[in-house]
Symmetry: C2
Subunit: 440 residues, 2 copies
């Protein structure tokens, strides 16, 4: 029996793992008992990529096209993808933490005492336990709405599916109109949004909030994330409330309480969640443009969310202000942000813009029936792994579906592997410790 | 008689000068003998802003709505705006030159020996003489086409108007379909494009090319501009040729020779010129998206052109490559580009994106009849002071026209005044020397 060393770098491992589950899932969804009617290989691939990257864009109706088995495959991929990304992102923070919140690494090391492989496993274990507790608790809350509606069995199942989908910011729903049927339901609106905000703010932020005894002790990253999330959500709420107030297809038909719930939900969902309780196909174009910005920004680092990340957006905004004020340093909360971070934030955003632009350029050549705005919306949604759509996903051409598949994959794994590469202290690849494996 | 000191900073002086001529022009265009039919104050303001910022977007048909007097007003504003911008930009390079082509300042000082006010005046004199010689020479070339067509008087006048409009990258034409009537004319295509490429590459580049005896002597800025201009034009030519080849509304109907001329012209015009020999309202959406990118990039620094500038685009591209390759330095032509320049290029681009995005957001609220793509096209055209349009300028709402006016103004003066502010060695404002003025 020979000892072997896996020579894949962590980003390579991540990519290979993702591809493995995406292809495995595709195979499973092609089984005769996975779908109610046969779906194409491409549609199966699209679905599993969307699930594994926790995007939520759907070419087939999740609740209608799949059997229970098919739905469980999708749900499993969401859970694997979401937790996988989170674990990997936390790993980056921990092992090679060079991101904005310089304290996280130390914090996590103290909190979880992982300086060895055992530590890493322990950390991931904590993450898993935390996720399952949150998801389990949310199932109970969601069941109070859905068990009375669908009965025990179906009601619990629907609750589990949506709890997993929401916490992992996947945006997949068993209802063909997402959560539009629950536009005014406090329990659904609040539980689902609580889940995806918690999942989207980043595990390190949660650990920091848990561990820190005073506000002063909080890391810069945590402060930016908490205050930034609050501010951007309040601003988005007000904008959507005002912009859609008189739209007969969205808010105008609703009661004031429903208007508030709907504005709140559509304010928080674009930064990666991907559920919707209003129809994006009927929104004002100004709202859609603003939503595109929110989708591009995305959620937090080391979270189930996507996009360029809120901290990146904050750094860019601050650097623009510094530029206009002719200041050389960027300061926030009595801390200076390192030049290297600013450069990274700007370069990452530019690369993201380029990715979106390139995808859009090719889609313009293949999708003649879709409006330009709906294509921009779709591409940014795929890049930010958001899952919102103006309704064109199902009618994309084959090439169009391939483009969106690539964008979802690049949007989810690109920034992470980039961040990983850049946070390496030197050019050496990390070698995994030797360990016996069974080779027969 | 008291001595006075003008206390305006150079950027303030530039803004005030521009506003003065825009408002003066508006007054002149409202005179009864300036127009064939009365035009509104807003349309007069739009026209003079477009002329003074050498944009070329038109709410009225320049050749039809104005009398000879009105046309001369427009032509004069183009000349004043174009030369004014060029002089000011050259001044920045010379007095406080901190841009990419670090050699320019020295070069210009050596070449023109301007260390005093006299030197500045001398430099601007050279610039003016050069411009008039080029424009005069072009008039002769254009006249070989237009004098046979329109007779001596009209033919010469049309040649003068288009020569001034082209050299200053203004894009105003006396023909309601711009240069679509001359899609296959070698003399018109080549003369007009030669004018706007020369005007758009930047005066310092021309001085450098004139003064340098060997290629090695050329500044980095000159090398980037010359090679960059060549490459981007070749790429744009090939893309448009391929993308539009089968479009029955553009290239498909033309002979091969005309196809080549048309592809060439539409390849070079978006980077600020603004003339067109094909109808942008009928182009493929992929071409339009690519054209939007070209318009955003724009021409050279210290030129009559706009946009974020070709050098900025090159620096951004190189920094993205460096980022992906995990390199800390950006090198080109055996030179390293300073971190501060990279930061500036990235910040300036982000601010530009923000400006375009904000304008678009408000236009989405006011222009319900225009497609999203046509609005993006219009805003980027205004920002880059290009003047191309998919045909919606005339039917913009009053608020829409105001938004485009602001974007043209900000697009032309914003980057320059920013560049000026940022190239100041310290916070002190430059004080103009005291000089007697007549106060009665
Ligand atoms: K999502
Ligand atoms: K122009």
């Amino acid at each position: 029996m020979k000892q072997k060393v896996i020579r894949l770098s962590p980003p390579q491992l991540l990519v290979v793992t993702f591809l493995f589950f995406i292809i495995l899932g595709m195979g499973l969804l092609k089984l005769p008992f996975a779908t109610t009617e046969q779906i194409s290989w491409l549609d199966a691939l699209f679905t599993t990529t969307s699930a594994m990257t926790v995007t939520g864009l759907a070419v087939v109706d999740t609740g209608g096209a799949f059997t229970l088995f098919g739905e469980v495959v999708v749900m499993s991929l969401i859970q694997i993808g979401g937790l996988g990304i989170m674990s990997f992102a936390v790993l980056i923070f921990m092992m090679l933490g060079k991101k904005i919140g310089f304290k996280e690494r130390l914090l996590l090391q103290q909190a979880l005492n992982q300086t060895s492989v055992g530590g890493v496993i322990k950390l991931v274990k904590y993450l898993f336990i935390f996720s399952f507790i949150v998801e389990g608790f949310a199932v109970l809350l969601l069941a109070t709405e859905w068990v009375p509606e669908f009965g025990w069995k179906r009601g619990l199942y629907v609750s589990i599916f949506h709890s997993i989908s929401a916490f992992n910011n996947a945006g997949f729903s068993l209802f063909s109109d997402s959560l539009m049927g629950y536009v005014g339901s406090p329990i659904i609106n609040l539980t689902i949004s609580f889940l995806f905000i918690l999942g989207g703010i980043g595990f390190t932020v949660l650990v920091d909030l848990w561990k820190s005894k005073t506000i002063r002790q909080l890391s810069l990253h945590t402060k930016i994330m908490v205050i930034g999330t609050f501010l951007i959500n309040v601003i988005a709420f007000m904008m959507i409330f005002v912009l859609e107030f008189n739209n007969p297809n969205t808010l105008a038909q609703l009661s004031l309480s429903d208007k508030i719930f709907a504005s709140y939900f559509q304010a928080v969902t674009p930064r990666t969640a991907g559920f919707n309780s209003l129809d994006y196909g009927n929104m004002e174009r100004s709202t859609l443009l603003f939503t595109i910005l929110l989708m591009f920004i995305g959620a937090g680092s080391a979270s189930t969310g996507g996009g360029i990340k809120l901290t990146t957006f904050v750094v860019i905004s601050l650097s623009m202000i510094a530029f206009l004020k002719e200041k050389k340093e960027i300061r926030i909360f009595r801390r200076t942000i390192d030049q290297a971070h600013i450069f990274k934030a700007l370069a990452l955003s530019m690369i993201s813009v380029l990715l979106v632009f390139t995808a859009l350029f090719f889609l313009e050549m293949t999708e003649h029936d879709a409006s330009f705005l709906s294509l921009v919306f779709e591409v940014v949604s795929a890049f930010g792994t958001v899952g919102l759509s103006m309704g064109i996903t199902g009618s994309l051409s084959a090439i169009g579906k391939w483009i969106i598949i690539v964008v979802m994959f690049a949007g989810k794994l690109g920034p992470l592997t980039l961040a990983f590469s850049l946070s390496r202290p030197d050019k050496e690849k990390i070698r995994y410790p030797k360990e016996d494996i069974l080779t027969g």
